[in-house]
Symmetry: C2
């Protein structure tokens, strides 16, 4: 009596071991947080405890804590104290179960299972039937049935060998296979008692041969070795590698769960199964799973026999089925999430072996989150939190059919792989240049544009294509950026393909030659190129009602006032980048509340426009130049009108011409080559040679050694004020026209690449002059417009206070700001060393994809604060690649920006990220 009391007491105070129904004590000890309980007991142990505490049918047992694991790892042995606690707990389980662990007669058997805070491959899994010995297997055979007993015993030997002693599992499986083959058996079900006995004997030989020792016949030794194996597996190479890759801390440790065995293989009244409380693919609120009669858990997973749908339990195990549904429901109430459960029915009685939050597809994630709000299980905030931006991306991209791809891979129809620059699936005929792409497209063909790399004048080719494949350039190369902007699947850096534009084909590493016009398929979500067509599965935002619901809630959350630094704040608004009415309509459909970046130069690459632009650039005098601009004016005006119409009531931020002028001219190398060839050949091409030479000279005169830092942005406007005049006339003129149609127009003019405040002052003044002239002419002086600037040079960020005095808004051009802050040209860096930097952990991530918080972020933060101090009315946002990157969006929120702008297809994810930022 006194000893029992002491036992009770000692376990009550125990740090290392918790009985399943003792989870409340664990919660108290760690201060009440469920997260801390999971850290102490592991996810599996905590959940088993929770189930037990809720009175659900859990086979009794206990958890040896992660602390015990960490102690073990430090001392390299299970301490006396821990072992004493284990034995104490075991005694309590024996009392509850009315059986003795490993007793010769009617023994208590247990499973030993690892369970860390985060589920993790690479660690020891489950050792079943611990406690069986040569002695008690005989008694078990008598008490239950012999076939079951020896089957169980061989499982222990196999598991102990493979998991605890490190023998290759294949050795056991091979022998079993050979044995069955010899006997002419098709399945384990054909095995007789004697067969299993023979297998037991074979397995013991393997164990002996491989490890020099036999299965310990002392059940406690089995258990101790199992616990030791679980703890050791925390530091296995695979586990460490997995933690490195996923960022799980190495100092967490794993718990070990000791649970009384129940048996699904005790005959026809027993079964075992796994199930999800809802459909993990569609999210439908109906249990989804499989079971196997007369089997142990691993058989279900192993797929040895074909399983039955979980709902077929109804016929065969009616009571257990009812209880399973009830328990499933109960678990969802407890864990407020869809559960992934393991269960066993032993002689008609249901036991729960494990529960955890179930993995699911993006589609299921969204539906379940929405449904659970409707069911009152979770709040809208919780639902929004649960949906990840990656889920949204996946939902919105058409994808290649998985099954067909699998087949294509098997048939070696994969041509190349590259960087998954813009996700989705695309199928079409190869076009090796933009012109061909446009031609094929005009014939109603689906096209895949295949290029060494792309340039701005390839943009028309993008519009004509279903997908883009390049041999060069990384995830933020021109091709990638443009593709993402327009939601075109794109694979970059497929460096093994060799394009031959003369012979109009490309060759793969395997020597396959793909000709222009041949069909290929891009799995751009992953980066695989396939020969021939593969079916695609479409996405359609309008039909994604569940997602739309989640995004509407996201908008609500971002719009709600919340408090930061004692101030009521609004979350980030999501604007869209867009250069046309079509873009803008798409952006509105996706939920953008403004255009944050209209790149006017994209409008100049169209086939009717490029010649005018070249005429402007190559003009010898202002008169010629003015004539070219006069021709461009109505075209630009019409462009802007279309955008304003689509964005009625929302702001439209239009950037003045930004790129260096030579981007509009023919390629320099090609001209050098032409001139050289003409010089050598004597075919009387004198005039043509002279002309080409002259053109080359003009191109040369515009050539720059570092064009990114040359004559572009506001510098072009200052050199050619007539360009500002034309653009402002188009911007404000179009606004007047559309307003006359009865719409609400909110134009904003953005000046790019400021590095000196005077640049902005000067150009702002000119813009106002021209704008007011147009307004006067239209008799619309009350039409208000804003003038702001990009902050994209480090110096602009550092002198933001001065610049803010002439700006109504700042828009951080974090692409250029990152390039200039790092001193890294994006394309050059990604092509030559950036990946190496990430691999070597010099950089944690590519700063062109995710905003660099420490460096570029510091500049953005400084500029935001200095700018607002100088001009409290300043509106501040970000445009460009980072504006669509979820982690960057959270950073923008933290720094107090007003909006982010990203490509139309990234808007849904951005809306979600903006809400996440408010919730975290």
């Amino acid at each position: 009596m006194r000893s029992a009391e002491m036992d009770e007491k000692s376990l009550n105070n125990d740090r290392y071991v918790y009985l399943f129904d003792d989870v409340a004590r664990a919660e108290r000890n760690v201060g009440g947080s469920w997260d801390a309980v999971r850290e102490l007991l592991g996810g599996k142990g905590a959940n088993l405890g929770k189930m037990a505490s809720e009175g659900l049918p859990v086979p009794y047992g206990f958890t040896v804590t992660t602390e015990a694991c960490l102690d073990y790892l430090k001392q390299d042995s299970i301490s006396e104290q821990v072992w004493t606690s284990v034995l104490d707990a075991l005694r309590k389980v024996e009392t509850r179960m009315g059986k003795k662990f490993g007793a010769d007669v009617d023994p208590l058997l247990v499973s030993c299972r690892s369970g860390a805070k985060f589920s993790m491959p690479g660690m020891m899994d489950t050792l079943l039937n611990t406690g069986l010995t040569d002695a008690n297997v005989v008694s078990l055979a008598k008490a239950t049935n012999p076939r079951f007993a020896y089957d169980s015993y061989r499982r222990l030997i196999q598991g102990f060998g493979a998991i605890v002693m490190g023998v290759a599992d294949d050795l056991f499986e091979e022998q079993l296979k050979t044995y069955k083959a010899k006997a002419g058996y098709e399945s384990d079900l054909d095995m007789t008692v004697d067969d299993w006995k023979a297998i037991v004997s074979i397995y013991r030989t393997i164990l002996k041969e491989q490890t020099g020792s036999d299965l310990p016949q002392n059940p406690l030794v089995q258990m101790k070795m199992a616990i030791t194996a679980v703890f050791s597996s925390w530091n296995s190479e695979r586990a460490r590698a997995y933690r490195n890759a996923t960022g799980i801390p190495h100092e967490l440790g794993t718990a070990c769960n000791i649970q009384s065995m129940v048996f699904g293989n005790m005959g026809d009244t027993s079964c075992t199964g796994v199930a999800f409380t809802r459909n993990p693919t569609t999210g439908e609120n109906r249990m989804f799973g499989d079971f196997l009669p007369n089997a142990q858990g691993e058989d279900v997973v192993a797929g040895i026999r074909s399983c039955f749908n979980v709902h077929e339990l109804k016929g065969r195990f009616a009571q257990a089925y009812e209880e399973l549904l009830r328990v499933g429901n109960n678990l969802e109430q407890v864990f407020r999430n869809m559960q992934d459960i393991e269960f066993t029915v032993q002689e008609g009685k249901l036991f729960m072996l494990q529960t955890r939050d179930g993995k699911r597809t993006a589609r299921a994630q969204v539906r379940i989150a929405k449904d659970m709000v409707r069911e009152g299980l979770i709040s809208k905030e919780e639902a929004v939190k649960r949906v990840q931006t990656g889920d949204v991306d996946v939902l919105l991209m058409p994808q290649l059919d998985e099954r067909e791809m699998e087949e294509a891979r098997r048939k070696s129809l994969m041509l190349a792989s590259g960087v998954n620059a813009s996700p989705g699936g695309a199928v079409g005929q190869v076009a090796l240049d933009s012109k061909t792409a446009e031609e094929l497209h005009s014939q109603g063909k689906d096209v895949i544009l295949v290029r060494q790399f792309t340039k701005p004048d390839d943009v028309p080719g993008f519009f004509a294509s279903k997908g883009v494949l390049t041999a060069e350039g990384g995830a933020t190369s021109h091709a990638a950026v443009v593709a993402r902007q327009f939601g075109i699947p794109c694979i970059c850096s497929a460096s093994t393909i060799v394009i031959d534009t003369e012979k109009r084909c490309f060759t793969t590493a395997q020597g396959t030659v793909v000709h222009e016009g041949d069909v290929i398929s891009l799995n751009a979500s992953v980066g695989e190129v396939f020969q021939g067509p593969i079916s695609t599965v479409d996405a359609n935002f309008e039909h994604e009602e569940d997602l739309q619901m989640i995004l509407d809630w996201s908008d609500e959350i971002a719009a709600e006032n919340y408090t930061r630094n004692n101030k009521k704040m609004r979350g980030l608004k999501v604007f869209s980048n867009g250069d046309s009415g079509v873009d803008s309509a798409k952006a509105r459909a996706f939920g953008a509340v403004g255009i944050g970046l209209c790149r006017t130069e994209h409008m100049f690459f169209g086939s009717e426009r490029l010649p005018l632009m070249r005429k402007f650039i190559l003009s010898q005098d202002t008169k010629q130049r003015a004539a070219a601009l006069d021709d461009l004016l109505p075209i630009q005006t019409a462009d802007f009108e279309a955008i304003y119409r689509a964005m009625s009531g929302f702001p439209v931020i239009i950037r003045l011409l930004d790129p260096p002028l030579h981007e509009f001219l023919p390629d320099r190398d090609a001209l050098v080559s032409s001139v050289a060839k003409m010089e050598v050949s004597s075919n009387g091409l004198r005039r043509q040679l002279e002309e080409t030479r002259e053109l080359l000279a003009q191109v040369e005169s515009l050539h720059e050694s570092n064009p990114m830092m040359g004559l572009r942005g506001v510098r072009v406007s200052i050199l050619y004020p007539e360009l500002i005049k034309m653009q402002v006339k188009a911007i404000i003129g179009a606004a007047c026209n559309v307003r006359r149609e009865g719409m609400s127009v909110l134009p904003e003019i953005m000046i790019p690449l400021i590095s000196v405040s005077k640049e902005l002052e000067m150009v702002r003044h000119q813009c106002e002059l021209y704008a007011d002239e147009v307004l006067e002419l239209n008799n619309m002086k009350d039409l208000s417009y804003k003038i702001g600037t990009m902050i994209e040079t480090p110096r602009a960020a550092v002198t933001a206070d001065e610049i803010a005095r002439s700006a109504d808004f700042f828009s951080f051009g974090t692409n250029d700001l990152t390039q200039m802050s790092f001193g890294m040209s994006r394309d050059d860096a990604e092509r030559r060393f950036l990946q190496d930097y990430v691999n070597k952990n010099i950089l944690m991530k590519n700063p062109f994809q995710s905003l660099d918080e420490k460096g570029v972020g510091k500049l953005v933060h400084m500029a935001t604060n200095d700018g607002r101090e100088a001009n409290p009315a300043l509106q501040i946002g970000i445009c460009g690649e980072h504006g669509g990157d979820p982690s960057s969006i959270v950073l923008c929120h933290k720094m107090g920006l007003d909006y982010v702008s990203c490509s139309p297809y990234r808007i849904p994810a951005a809306r979600l990220a903006a809400a996440h930022a408010c919730l975290w």
Copy 2:
């Protein structure tokens, strides 16, 4: 009596008018500062007052203040109050002189002269003889001599017409010339009384015709109009333009000095002259000047008659001569500077009309400053303050002979002009490429390298040349930077010359064809190119003893502890950039106390080394690469040894390889062109074509769209750690060798282009590994070395705290930092828009020449503070162009840097600037 008392009192309190001997009251009123007195009375008035107060023989008079001028400019008329004050003061002058202003008999005549705080062309100069009228000229003729009286009268009419009424002076001069020609006179001395009377009449006609009015016969009206004209001239177009150009504030205004006339034209006992108290060309302490007997001041300046040396006064005006020497000495004691004086001897008596600090050559400036310290007139600090860094530059450059250049200009032998990128004079034969330059040089010829622009592989050509001329590239282009580094005169941007490398010649705008081998001369201090040879005048630092004295004092001042923010600080040390033993010896001779930047890549461009470097770059595997490096190792080691020897006892900071690798490879365009040509011609060059194609492919693979922000600096070291190994072995190995020779070696390894702290951490670790290996091998583990980094990307500046933890020193690479902060590629910007920006006042100055305080400076300041906070032992300096720019040096001092490093030839000026920074 009562009225006189009141007069006395009213003038004592007068704000607008100060009598000459009343300068003490002016000093009191403005708070005692001489600068403020000069602002109130103008430089001329203040100095006249000072002389009068010192009892020197100044014709009495008074100054109407700049305040009165500002009042006038505001109200557009002389106020009643000012005029009353003028009349009061005039009465006092009349009393003192015992004459009445403009009286009919024995009139008091005055001069009216403008005088602002800063001497300024474009304003009204001097109106002499004010107060003469038709009436009193007769009396004056009787009292003195008639010829003098009518000469004076015609001068008044001419001056009044030209200066007060704005009549073109030529009209008067033409008539006088015609008159003399008709009469057959050679000089004014031939003119008789009647002749002058006739001229008076002719001049009055001109005045009447041109202005419609006659000379006012009321003397007070003459004076009031004269004062009005002086005040108005402050806002003349020329004066405003001059102030805009020189940065003189427009709100200062000018004073007007009214001074009793004395006459140097009263016959042979009278004369007038100008003199410097010391020689303004050589600085010799002996009065230097001219005088003219029987003349008025303007005659001396006008050069109408040839003057006498001032020391000839001794024979003709012995007493006045003695007094002049005494007065000169006295003035130097009062103004503690060499004076530029105007004097008149009237009937044997000396009068001082003006004194001011004298302008002088750089050489005189230095000598006078040194002498005055020796004479106890000024302190060393004052001497150092007076010498400007520009003076030092001028002293140290060989120059073309001025006289010969004048002749060449006259003969139209000037071929072109350009930017004076690196000062000095150079004469030599034209070489159109580096190879030719080296060839001619090896034949003992003087060479001028003439290129479109230069690249790193032209550097050997620089060494072979006396001067460099380029058609492209500004003051900080490659050519300019390298030229300054090596003290080679260089003219850039001579855009009118057209180079034809086929025909081996260049053509000027005038069509002159200059062939390779022809001699030209560069006046690179100004930017002029001459045909044919012009003699040069050499500079020799060792012989510049006066300058050396000044610089020694500068070093003393910079080394003295001074206090800033309550801390004792040392001024800036001056280090030198240098890549060789020769450079380093030069640097020591110029007074550098360390090498702040040794660019190892410059060593790779030598003719024996470039092939090895190319071998390294084009290697297909690490083995080939290692072999190339093995060959380079002994060469680098020897380079470093030479530097250490020259710098024994001083730190040597060696930068690891910095430029992008393609800079070591052949030109891409040339290869493209070659390939194209070979493709067309069918001369069986198949193998050569293949080889060229392959080379082009390799060059292409290293090609970058923005090489400045590509694979260079530390990025190369990280990609090719074997390069670090070779360089560290050479750096530390050489240090061991030289130390064994008994010298003190202080090597410091500098890692370029850090943008992420991990880069430095990683490379530092490798450097330490290799260095310690070498030290162990040499058994010299006590040889200490430092490892630091360039701060040249904005991100490095922003994350300086992290970087400082792995750095022993920072060296700001402000060239790149400026490029990246502004987002401006230096060459592209200077070629295409930077000058336009300066012209339009968008930028006040070229930020590549003078450190941009607001932007780049802010980053430097942040990084300095953050770096020191994280690592208080951090040494901080600056290398590159700004390190030799005086205003940037002052800024570096303000930001608390420890040293600046500049090219050897800029060291003297930098030493001076470092002292200036301590004194201001």
